[in-house]
Structure formats: structure tokens, C-alpha cells
Amino acid sequence: MVTLCILATGILLAVLGLVVGYIAIQGLPGLSWSFFTGTPRPIGEAGGGMAHAIAGSFILIGLACLVGIPWGVLTGIFLAEMKRWRRLGTLVRFTADVLSGMPSITAGIFIYTSVVISMQTFSALAGGLALGIVMIPLVARNTEEILRLVPASMREAALALGLPYWRVVVSIVLPTAARGIGIGMTMALAGIAGDPVPLFFTALNNNYWSLDLRQPIASLPMEIFRYTAAPFAEWHTLAWAGALVLIAISFTPMLLVRIFLPGYRIRR
């Protein structure tokens, strides 16, 4: 049994190392000044870069966080802390579980019919919303689980001091759970950062530099998809480099949260 566990862990680590290592080897040569500053050149011309896609990805991730994080955290607090609403909570929890298990393309279709059609254009806004919707249930459920780990005795101690319940939640329970909630957010963020699926119907793609939220926008996953599917060696190099940058973008927030949000050893 122990051997099996070690074996499974070892294989997982090896796979992770292989994937990251291979992307690094293939991607590093493509990283250059023009990769970060340039936009695509006509086919056949060397050089060019992914600046438009990097900026686009940041905008899409930012919009998604703007939607997904507050909404998800508030829903998580509702689920964990509002005991008077337990019936509704059960329903919400079930819905969130179903949503987080659903293919992310459904979020894309939902935003397509509700936003894209009425705006009559694909847009960064629609893409951010779609990604945000994918984030909500992940953030909500994780927030709930982490809040539940904060011992009831701590809440009681605070309530016994004559603090109102919402004060206890905001000033005592949330800070204690901050690290766990933060880690959950970054995992949800990493999940959506690399997902092109909800973007097909929403943000689509853009060959040019654009920061306009009402216009289609490029993103790293979409560009990687487009470049790998094309038969040009220069594009493949760009795609590998893009993948490497994408990993860095997903990984950095995780690292930052782990470094800057302290964990608390909760007594008993």
C-alpha cells in the first residue's frame, strides 16, 4: 500500500516535471523582446509576438476575477455562515457542485445567448463574464470548505465578547481563513487562465492589439490553439513560448499567495 502511494506520487511528479520541462525547453528559445512587445506578422515573415494575446489574457483574467471572486466568496460565506438559510444553502451548494462539474463550454453558450447576441458582437466583456461564471462555483465551494475549518469555538469566543455576527465573520473568521481562501482563488484562476473553451463563443480572438472591452480580444489559450494548428514552424515556436508564459501567469499568483498570506496553526 505504502509502495503504491509512493509510486503514484512519484509518477505524478514525473509527469508534471516532464510537461513543464518540455514546455520550458521548447518555449524558452521563442522568448524574446519582440515576443512580449510585437503583434503577429503576416504569414512567412519571421518574428512577431504575442503582446496582444498576453494583454488580452490579463484583461480576460482580470474581468473574470472581478466577477468570480467577490461573487464566489460572498456565496461561500452565505453557505458556511448563514445557518438560518440552511434549506436554500443546500440547494445553492448542490447547484454550485453541478456547475463546477459542468463543461466550461456551457458558460460560453450561456454568455453567447445572453450577452453576445444582444451586443451583436463578440467582446472581451463577454469573455471575462464567461470565465467569471466558471470561477464562481469553484471559489464559492472552496471558500465554504475553508470557513468550515475555522473552529466553532473561535466564533463563540468572539460572539461572547459581544461582537455582532457579521463583525465576527468579517474581522475574525475571514482573516483566519484568508490563506486557504486565497489558495482556492488562485487555483480557480489557474483553471480559467488556460481554458480557451468558454472564449470561442464570447471573446473569440483578435489578430491585432486591442484593449477595447467591447471588441473581440486575443488571449494566450486561443492563440496557442490557433498557432499549433497552423503548419508554420515560426508559429509553433510562438505557441510553445506562449504556453510557457501561460504557465507563468497561472503559477505566479499561487506562489504570491503562499508567500504573503500567512497560515495559522489553529489550536485544537
Binding site: K83, R84, R86, P151, S153, M154, E156, A157, A158, L159, A160, L161, G162, L163, P164, R167, S171, I172, P175, T176, A178, Y264, R265, I266, R267, R268
Partner: protein, 253 residues
């Protein structure tokens, strides 16, 4: 002497009746010990006195609890206000791990909301509370660091200081020494004796020697009923009820 009067108190968890018809007066500026076998309802009684009982879903209370002429269960009385007047110390020293020692002691004032405390005022109260529990000398150099590294006894005194900082009238102590070593426990007992000059103290304990050592009055509860109440020597030396005698002598509840 004004303390807490309990009149015809009943308490339920869901459909289970935990306390039956408890009538009792906790005298002011004295220590009253509440003893009884596990699950007899003594902690529930304590939690009815600062309206913590009702926080558990399905919990219910009937009867009157009068604190200095306020019926704390009267319609329109804010339980949050009551909890500021009736402080509580728990079995495990449950400090807030995200906060510094200073913040831990001042939290009840700093986050109260209604009144804004100036930093100077807050500091005065924190220092005074720490001095009251005899912790000032031990922590004065590390006020603005977290409480990690303090011993369990020190943490428990920190929790008491935190409760005192809100300036309550009554101090409820739910087995405050059960998680402590004997020396730390004696220290808390000394502290209780000092504090009874200014507070009404109600102590739930499993330790009968402790009750005998510190309490002026003792109440014995069994199966949700108040069996006996009187001055501590009376209850321990000349119990009127057979059940009390059995419990105290350890020959069955």
C-alpha cells in the same frame, strides 16, 4: 446584592428538554460554582445567562433571567448587548491566531462598532486588563506580536483579560482550568478570588476540590434539575439531598 436571578428557566435543544424549572439567584460580587455530572445541563445553564444558548439552531429558552433589573430575554433586548455585560471564558484558551496580543485583548472594544475608541483609550484598557490578570509583566515587551509561544495558562489568562476589557458585570467561566496543568489552574483560581471583588463570577467545574476552594456558593445540578443550592460549606459538608451527597462523595450521581 444584585447579581443574576434565574426564574423558572427551561432550555431545549430541538425537542430535548435540557433544563427544567431552574430557580436560582447568583449573588453579586461572589463566586458561585455550578457542579454536576457530565451532560447534566450546567454548561447550558451558563450559556442561557449570556444568550449564547440560542445560537445553536433549534435551541430554545423559556423563563426569566434578570440581570440588574433587565430581563435579558425580554422582547427587544439585544443579545449582543447582553453578551457585553456578561462575559464568558471557555475551557480551551481560544485566542484569535491572526491577531497580536494587544489586538486579542482589545478586540471586544475595537470592533464593537457603536462607539469608536481612540487608540489612547484602547491602550489604557488593554494595559489595565492585562494587569488585572497578572499578565502585564510577562507580555509587555511583546504586545504587538502574536500570542504563539505563550503557555496554555498564559493564554487562558489572556482570554480572561480579553473578556475583562469589555468591562462586563458578570463573568461566566466554563471549566476554565480543565485544559491547564495544576499550577496554572491554581493561578487562575487566585485570579478568580481577586476578581470577585468587582465581578459576579459563575464557575462551571468538574473539579469538586476547586469548587470547594474558590466558591462562596455552590449549586448542584443533575439531569437538568437544580437539586441543591447553598453556601459552599453547607453543600459540601451537610448536603440536604441524598443525590448531592452521593455525587460529592463519589458514590454515584
Amino acid at each position: 446584592m444584585a447579581g443574576i436571578q434565574v426564574e423558572a428557566l427551561h432550555a431545549w435543544y430541538g425537542r430535548d428538554l435540557i433544563l427544567k424549572q431552574v430557580d436560582l439567584v447568583f449573588p453579586g460580587k461572589a463566586i458561585t460554582a455550578v457542579i454536576g455530572p457530565s451532560g447534566c445541563g450546567k454548561s447550558t445553564l451558563l450559556r442561557c445567562l449570556n444568550r449564547m444558548h440560542e445560537l445553536v439552531p433549534g435551541a430554545r429558552v423559556a423563563g426569566r433571567v434578570v440581570l440588574n433589573e433587565t430581563d435579558i430575554y425580554h422582547y427587544g433586548v439585544n443579545p449582543v448587548e447582553i453578551r457585553r455585560r456578561v462575559g464568558m471564558v471557555f475551557q480551551n484558551p481560544n485566542i484569535f491566531p491572526t491577531m497580536t496580543i494587544f489586538q486579542n485583548v482589545g478586540v471586544g472594544l475595537a470592533l464593537a462598532g457603536r462607539q469608536r475608541y481612540r487608540h489612547r483609550q484602547l491602550e489604557t484598557r488593554v494595559v489595565k486588563s492585562l494587569q488585572q490578570v497578572g499578565l502585564w509583566e510577562e507580555v509587555k515587551d511583546r504586545l504587538h506580536r502574536t500570542a504563539t509561544g505563550l503557555s496554555a495558562g498564559q493564554l487562558q489568562r489572556l482570554c480572561i483579560a480579553r473578556t475583562l476589557a469589555v468591562e462586563p458585570e458578570v463573568l461566566l467561566m466554563d471549566e476554565p482550568c480543565s485544559a491547564l496543568d495544576p499550577i496554572a489552574a491554581i493561578r487562575i483560581e487566585e485570579l478568580m478570588r481577586e476578581l470577585k471583588a468587582s465581578y459576579t463570577i459563575i464557575l462551571v467545574t468538574h473539579n469538586m476540590q476547586q469548587a470547594a476552594r474558590v466558591a462562596d456558593f455552590t449549586a448542584f445540578i443533575s439531569r437538568g434539575e437544580l437539586i441543591e443550592y447553598g453556601s459552599t460549606p453547607e453543600v459540601f459538608l451537610r448536603p440536604r439531598d441524598l443525590r448531592t451527597e452521593r455525587y460529592i462523595t463519589g458514590t454515584g450521581g
